[in-house]
Symmetry: C2
Subunit: 372 residues, 2 copies
């Protein structure tokens, strides 16, 4: 093999080190090496090295071994840019979250992201993190993510109806792999993995009713989210079935925050001082509501029962500990990741998964104690 005089790389002055002298011994130290070098050292073609790397069964066991030995010896690592440029996939997924203050310090997102990262890494996929600020959306960066080949697919967390135009709808027409995580849209053809919110509320309402509660206030997260509208709807059906008029000041928005939950609780109790139970669209608002109730001199659960939604870690550690609906958020993240990869690889062309929810009973709920 006299051929292949290592050619000079004239146009790359500040390159990351030349491939070597072409005569280098088998035990050369860590000089960065490419597939061509490995092929030469193992006395095979680059095609063979490539196939060894992808465990192509067409390569004989002997060749496999020989090539792998050279790879280990020289510490060769394939350049993933070249792999993806030649190949079909980037093996990278994007997590996109809206620009919320403290999104990354929120246990809700934290659970979802933990599920996603665990699964992605298990599948040897990488993850990119994007925050969808207004200019991100305006400049079509979400589309760029796919079209410029940053990633194979996208997971959208925390988006709602306000993000339809100019963002979510872009994915519909183009058929780009994207999965909405823990929300869904009724009239847009988007893939999603979501918890069964309707069943969750229904369990709450059944439970509260059994405890004798009729005067139940509902603190809504945000009507822009379909899941929150589902909560409201089922709540209202149950109120009506119990002979109550839910439109009548029993519902208030808490914007998903502790502070909002406190304000909403105040609004409901001012209007209906005889409220015996408060149900909230997430745990944070429940904590805010409990905080307000204690300031108002009402005991939980003796005077007012409080029941949340999410079952974040925190909910078990407040006093009184919070009864709530458990959402399998970690599992939602795992499944969303799984399904997205199947979508990317063309094994499925529609994702519409629903995961079950169930009631967790702790100390914040009790028998209704009617008050004036």
């Amino acid at each position: 093999m006299i051929e292949t005089p290592v050619k000079e790389d004239a146009r790359r002055p500040k390159g990351r080190g030349a491939p070597g002298d072409g005569l280098k011994g088998e035990d050369a130290p860590k000089v960065k090496v490419n597939m061509r070098e490995v092929a030469r050292m193992a006395d095979v073609s680059v095609a063979t090295v490539s196939m060894v790397l992808s465990n192509n069964p067409r390569i004989s066991r002997a060749t496999q071994l020989r090539v792998r030995q050279v790879i280990d010896q020289v510490g060769y690592r394939p350049n993933r840019l070249a792999q993806s440029l030649s190949g079909q996939y980037t093996n990278v997924l994007a997590i996109v979250v809206p620009a919320l203050r403290h999104a990354f310090a929120d246990a809700y997102f934290g659970e979802l992201i933990s599920g996603i990262t665990d699964r992605a890494h298990k599948m040897q996929m990488k993850l990119m993190l994007e925050v969808a600020k207004p200019d991100f959306i305006k400049e079509d960066r979400h589309i760029e993510l796919i079209e410029r080949r940053f990633v194979d697919g996208i997971l959208c967390l925390g988006f709602n109806d306000r993000h339809r135009h100019g963002f979510l709808e872009d994915f519909v027409g183009r058929q780009y792999p994207m999965v909405v995580v823990n929300n869904y849209f009724k009239d847009m053809d988007l893939d999603s993995v979501v918890c069964d919110y309707r069943s969750g509320v229904q369990q709450v309402m059944n439970f509260l009713t059994q405890l004798g509660h009729r005067k139940i206030g509902f603190i809504n997260g945000a009507p822009e989210a379909q899941t929150q509208r589902d909560l409201l709807e089922v709540y209202q059906e149950n109120m009506v079935a119990n002979g109550m008029k839910p439109g009548d000041g029993w519902v208030s928005d808490g914007r998903f925050t502790e502070a909002g939950g406190a304000v909403a609780a105040a609004a409901i109790l001012d209007r209906h001082p005889d409220t015996t139970a408060l149900f909230t669209g997430n745990d944070k608002m429940a904590l805010g509501a409990m905080h307000y109730l204690s300031r108002r001199g009402l005991r939980v659960p003796q005077d007012v029962s409080v029941i949340g939604f999410d079952d974040l870690q925190h909910a078990a550690f407040v006093s009184p500990s919070l009864s709530t609906v458990h959402l399998p958020l970690y599992e939602v993240g795992v499944l969303a990741c799984d399904k997205l990869v199947e979508r990317v690889r063309g094994k499925i062309d529609r994702v519409a998964e629903v995961l079950p929810t169930h009631l967790i009973l702790r100390e914040s709920t009790a028998l209704a104690a009617p008050r004036a």
Copy 2:
């Protein structure tokens, strides 16, 4: 221009659509187009298109405009895999965090990550998210990140002395761009951006001393972190200066958690029932300590003052609100990102930034009230 009959791509059966018919009009809809196509349509070379894209001043204004017009018309977006393979940078950075339960639901990491993402996106850089589980480290994935050209540089959050071997030390020898975020190592040549912990404790000790406190307990986060050892050291110096023996059961480890803080507080108070103040290595442990104190029937701050470290959002919203040392974590994230990019681009070759900290006084501290 009769040349360039669009050549058939025989080897790519499931390709993402052919480049077109080679005669396509200027207003063709979104068929995916590459730089060669754009060049042909604008009647220039690909080199020129490339230079237009990088705003190379050598290109005339007229050509600039013409090329940009074609780009807009056909909706051309450069393939970033090809760009990075040919070019010097990936323009991607990695955030690596250890595999802690709920790392992504922790406001401490949340603040750092918010700062990093904001800055990175402002600089048109992308971010990858990695969780360093044991096998991530064992399989040298941290090295792969750079060597396989996933990213240009790495930001390490939440690592300490236990991660030296087989992980952090790998970066030292290879000189790969990596910045340790909010920790540092005395005898390893690693870049870092960190808060001034020593000044923070000193302010705490001065303040408590002025309030008449001498019997001050210290709840340590974890001795594996240099920053926590700094806290301990300065605390001890001050105790000695006040004639106390700090080794004598005044210090206890709280492992950074609420539960750990409660246990540590119990240990210190059992040993020293006359403790008048507790200082903790982070806010979470302070909350745990406060929780324990109230269970033990001690009032904060009347009986025992409590002072934390971090100043997370939450600290202002507990009762009593928590006095603490403010850490500019968002700014640490921003600066770390900034400096890492400068390192990557060879503008600097050493990062050792220290950001100032300051005391925040709220309700959890008061004059020492000596008890038996």
